[in-house]
Symmetry: C2
Subunit: 310 residues, 2 copies
Amino acid sequence: MLELTYRRSLLAVANLPPVAGFVKRFGWRLGVGRFVAGEDLDSAVAVLKRLDEQGLASILDLLGEFVASPEGVSAMVQEIETALTRLASAPQRAMSVKPTQLGLGLREGAIDTALKNARRLARRAQEAGARLCFDMENHPYVDGTLTIYRTLHAEGFDNVSTVLQSYLKRSLQDLDDLLALTPKPVLRLVKGAYLEPEQIVYRDLAQVDRLLREMIYRGLEAGAHIDIATHDETLIRETEAFVRGAKIPPEQYEFQLLYGVKPKLQQALRQRGHTVRIYVPYGKDWYGYYSRRLAERPANLAFVLRGLFG
Amino acid sequence: MLELTYRRSLLAVANLPPVAGFVKRFGWRLGVGRFVAGEDLDSAVAVLKRLDEQGLASILDLLGEFVASPEGVSAMVQEIETALTRLASAPQRAMSVKPTQLGLGLREGAIDTALKNARRLARRAQEAGARLCFDMENHPYVDGTLTIYRTLHAEGFDNVSTVLQSYLKRSLQDLDDLLALTPKPVLRLVKGAYLEPEQIVYRDLAQVDRLLREMIYRGLEAGAHIDIATHDETLIRETEAFVRGAKIPPEQYEFQLLYGVKPKLQQALRQRGHTVRIYVPYGKDWYGYYSRRLAERPANLAFVLRGLFG
């Protein structure tokens, strides 16, 4: 409960225009660079190279959420396309794309535009030998994102994946539906970090944890490829134990952690023989992503405050 | 390291005669009753009944370690026999016996006496429909205890079990040897709490944890019946995940916790569908057991100090 209150308060404060203005102006002094690889593609690629050297896989994410204009969408898609060509040179790389970047937030022709863009990027990713993940934003885009994923899956793309968030009450049903697909889907499972209406999410964080665990187990048991995207060390240990018990082959799952979060854990998991993929965000539109990181853990806010006043 | 220092210091202080004298005299005021069911069998049986009502299985333990005289051994064996007849009336009960109670600490004819007593008690337990566990004391009795277990196992007793302690460097090999038995053995796996010479135990507590986990997994994978006797909640969660992944049937394992330790966890595990067995010690010779409980967790010592001065 305290955690939830902290999270909601921080996100509420972060949404106040004067706060946003201040943070956007002084961002890099506020430790944004700890969580964001840089504002341009070159900085991001430099980070990917460093991760390669550390034996960590990566998934690149162009920051930018809730894109609402056709021009915005075109610019995003083009930039993602460029980024995908830069991935070509290295294995173990992937890219993440948000639903409104594809066009799902447009007032007209949203799903058609998004599908067309998704197909174009999936093809480009295929040429680059990279995976493309249809990431989630908040609840209004869940159906659209699932439609995009299912459509491309049905068209035979074997390099696409999507995301389910365990704090949404609908997700367990969504999971069961996706697990019925052939071939088995590739799914990133997360708790979820958007500020959502109370009716559609579980307010009890312990329930969100239990549900994510249940989803991970169910997905692995069904033979899906599961990306376990959490920093919850209990849940990670439980997943390791489950995987060992069920003799899940190492190719069938990976742990995903965010750039800058728990670097020791990233290395420890790698050393214990798991594939570890780091989610690397870059771009100018880092504000929303950054506030969610601070909202997630008081320790992250403490880090920023120490940097400011320490 | 700090933990280990705490444990060693507390046990060293507890071994000082004046300290022992004081605690033995004022025991029940020092909270001994939290960890020990009582000084006589009737008190113990009353506790067993309460556990029955709570849906918890039990394993009764007559306190008394390092018994060195033939008279002491006879008295112990007789008292354990009496206790076993009192178990007859209820299912889900078991009894634990220490190697020197059987006679392994005698100067002459130790192994023969111990084997004879073990056989006699195993038979009596069989008549009572109860399990008998050959518990461990410290390292000088490990070989003898394993011999007793193996002998009775070979004679066809299917109601006996024994214990391995993961802090002993030898235990992984002992486990592998026992897992080769047919039918598969019944083993209680613990970390170990005696003050042992440094050469034969792992000093690194994280290593002791890892090893216990490995032993649990290996035992379950091999099809042995494993009693997971630890209060380490991470390890318990990992075991739950492993069991789920490997689809280990509920009859093949149980969690064992000590009377008075983490009662909430005892109930939570039961509610999550596991068999939970409570280790219930009783008897006049509670001093060694009680000091090991205080040495295990600073929180337990804090409990006592609060009771004294609070």
